[in-house]
Symmetry: C2
Amino acid sequence: MDILDTLKKRRSIRTYQDREIPKDALKQIIDVARFSPTARNEQPWEFIVITDSRIFSKIAKLGDNARFVAYAKACIVVFCADTKYYLEDGCAATTNILNAAAALGIGSCWVAGDKKPYCEEVAALLGVPPELKLVSMVALGYPADPSDFKLGFKKSLRGMLHWEKF
Amino acid sequence: MDILDTLKKRRSIRTYQDREIPKDALKQIIDVARFSPTARNEQPWEFIVITDSRIFSKIAKLGDNARFVAYAKACIVVFCADTKYYLEDGCAATTNILNAAAALGIGSCWVAGDKKPYCEEVAALLGVPPELKLVSMVALGYPADPSDFKLGFKKSLRGMLHWEKF
């Protein structure tokens, strides 16, 4: 079960090799995000793919949780139109960005975007119209240590799986 | 790129074969959800896996968008503790439930749960404490037509992918 294994071994990776991500790989990642689940097939998403490290430095200064973005080799910023299910849809697309990256051997880490104090600043930085909503910023890079793709430390299956009733 | 292909061909499937889903497959699906991205590693999720069709009939009556649940072979209901990022985390887990199901040849469809008028009713039906938040209900079944796994009708990549700036 190679796919299940890849999905399970995807985890937040914040240190990267000094190696560019080919433009084609970034395109493949967005092409997977494009087919993510979306309520009423609205596909409210817009993806800004950044490779300019000057922008990473600006994003890294937005908050403590974004500092590692400074070292990314690419950053995908997800915005959505203000639909009823924009956050569900945007998070589904973000999840599949991480999954597709892992499938290509690329490490990633999700920085939250929804209702954050820096939403306006990110939109202004990237020329995004104010009516779109920031959902996430994903840092990407080949992992400094390829063995970083491994099972994370998680609660037990038994504790969270309930058959028929809670 | 088999994984990317599987992720892209996952789509909402609402008609199912009259064939049980092995308990082990359901466990594998939850085991993938368990490793989903989660802010601050909080893993706020709880998964109720239902195979009792009497419960499906009750869920199907909750709203027009849930009617097809009556024909499901299993239903996974996702609740989360009320954390800051419960909706992001719950949607990431839901997305990976759909992905893992697709990898196993099982069709699925996501019914929204967050802030819905039926949250309390679902919690009561499944014996879930009122402090947990309903995120989603996922219907599952082997697709009536296995060729249902195919690329959905989506907006073009060119329209949603922006390089460096919007």
